[in-house]
């Protein structure tokens, strides 16, 4: 199948997602369930990587910043901006493309192969609305929140590492944090987070929903969905930076 028919099918799936729910309460329940599955269940990994990426970026910035002319508090400023602009939204979303994406593709693929999707269709349920839409919405609700958490933890990790290794004193670090702060950067990061969470959830839903064959293909579909969403995330990252900055 060529890339254009595949893309057409992807758009059709998105379009068919919008139909009237048979029973609002059940759809709400499914949405909440997905928020837990996607958001809460990836909290742990997000906490760990955010903390360390902040810490590491503080140490490495200090290592590169050898000029005695620059005040040490600049480290805080650089850590803050790299974490907010790039690390928290992009790095976290790349990791989530693996964690959340393979999970979504695997779940839907399994439902397709074991005919659970057919069983829902036979009951008279639009499975794109019932299965795909809540996943995309849940991802767009929870992933930007995770990104915000990641920003805070990343900066905190940077501060902790700097103070612990004696590179910058806590008071100096805090002073640096407040220098030249642009709220627009946070807005930009959130724009990225929303775009990436849509990419992750819709691409992995697409690959999972249209699995054909057996369990071997489920694995293949989740790998494929991770690769495609990662590439698209990097591409979108470039486009958004070119347009919004």
């Amino acid at each position: 199948m060529n890339i254009f028919t595949e893309f057409g099918r992807y758009l059709l799936m998105l379009k068919d997602m919008f139909s009237k729910p048979e029973n609002m309460k059940m759809y709400w329940k499914e949405l909440m369930h997905q928020c837990v599955e996607i958001g809460i269940r990836s909290l742990g990994i997000v906490v760990i990587i955010s903390f360390f990426m902040g810490a590491v970026s503080a140490l490495q910035t200090a290592y590169q910043l050898v000029s005695p002319l620059l005040p040490r508090s600049t480290i805080a400023l650089i850590v803050r901006d790299t974490v907010i602009l790039e690390f928290a939204p992009t790095l976290v979303c790349i990791v989530l493309a693996g964690v959340v994406g393979s999970k979504i593709a695997g779940e839907l693929g399994n439902m397709r192969v074991s005919e659970q999707i057919d069983a829902l269709e036979i009951m008279g349920i639009n499975t794109r609305t019932y299965l795909v839409l809540p996943k995309i919405l849940a991802a767009m609700i929870t992933i930007p929140l995770l990104v915000v958490i990641s920003m805070v933890l990343g900066i905190w990790g940077g501060r902790l590492a700097s103070v612990a290794t004696g590179i910058v004193a806590a008071s100096q670090f805090d002073k640096g944090l407040l220098q030249n702060f642009l709220p627009y950067n946070v807005f930009f990061a959130l724009a990225k987070a929303y775009t990436f969470s849509f990419i992750i959830s819709s691409i992995s839903s697409f690959y999972g929903y249209y699995v054909k064959g057996g369990s071997l293909e489920i694995g293949r579909a989740s790998t494929q969905s991770v690769i495609v969403s990662c590439v698209l995330i990097l591409l979108a990252d470039y486009v958004l930076s070119a347009v919004l900055l």
Binding site: S19, E22, N23, M26, N110, M111, S114, E115, Q116, D118, A119, E121, I122, M123, G124, I125, N126
Partner: protein, 269 residues
């Protein structure tokens, strides 16, 4: 009543259903029999719209299913119950939640009433104390029965069962056959069953369609089937030498008994 007119379905260049016409009658168990790979499952999935047929028409009580749009199909499907060959239970839900799911989605009654209905259908398929088990924790035959329970929980007008008693012991198998027959008569529904189990053919076959390589070879009732002169059908029914011998030896006797007895076991006594 479901009318099927000249249904065709191909996969690539392989013709799986080759121009089948039939009428599935209301209040009867319409059986589709045939050997493995003859196209029974594909035929059933065409009837409910999980596969789009290449040509032909399907009419549900006179309404053309093939030309219906998504919304109309959804409406019709709320009157359809289906058991899949592989059961297709939702594996993230317990048995109770599986069966309650259609009730949750399409009714507004209280939880107590739903639970009552769930236990009612579970009792009908002879299952007890499995409410809180997950599909992975029950046997294949039990999954089949949960699948049937889920299919009948909303009292469908059309019931489709793909091999309801494969993988069941003879006793449970008989129970399921009886159950399907009972609800078909009780609620005057249109039931379509795929099977290759001769016991259930004799037990429930009010109307039998024999499929061979995508073609309807023979059509009739369980009273007529063992006297059919159709070569391929005979090969299918009397595949076991035991049955063939029994048939030859008792042919005359059986002719006298056939009207009173429906059960193969009894015939061969």
């Amino acid at each position: 009543m479901i009318e099927i007119k000249d249904l065709k379905k191909t996969f690539g260049d392989k013709t799986v259903i080759d121009g089948v016409s039939a009428v599935m009658q209301t209040g009867k168990c319409n059986l589709i029999i045939g050997s493995s790979g003859s196209g029974k499952t594909v035929f059933m999935k065409c009837l409910v719209g999980l596969f789009e047929p290449d040509s032909g028409e399907i009419l549900y009580s006179g309404k053309n299913f093939t030309t219906m749009n998504e919304e109309e199909r959804k409406e019709l499907r709320q009157q359809i119950g289906m058991l899949f060959q592989g059961s297709a239970l939702f594996d993230s839900m317990t048995v109770e939640q599986n069966i309650m799911f259609p009730l949750d989605m399409f009714t507004k009654v209280s939880f107590q009433e739903k639970l009552k209905r769930v236990n009612e259908v579970l009792a009908r398929v002879n299952l007890e104390n499995v409410n809180d088990k997950f599909p992975a924790e029950i046997s294949g035959g039990m999954k089949k029965r949960v699948g049937i329970a889920r299919a009948i929980v909303l009292n469908p007008k059309y019931l489709f069962c793909d091999e309801p008693n494969s993988g069941l012991d003879p006793q449970t198998s008989l129970l399921i056959d009886k159950l399907i027959k009972e609800i078909t008569l009780e609620y005057k529904i249109t039931t379509v069953v795929n099977t290759h189990d001769m016991n259930s053919v004799m037990e429930t076959g009010d109307h039998i369609i024999y499929m061979h390589q995508g073609i309807k070879e023979w059509e009739g009732t369980n009273k007529e089937i063992i006297f059919s002169k159709n070569q391929k059908l005979n090969e299918f029914i009397f595949a076991s030498e035991f049955l063939q011998d029994a048939k030859d030896m008792r042919m005359l006797e059986m002719k006298g008994k056939i009207d009173n007895n429906r059960n193969m076991d009894e015939l061969l006594k």
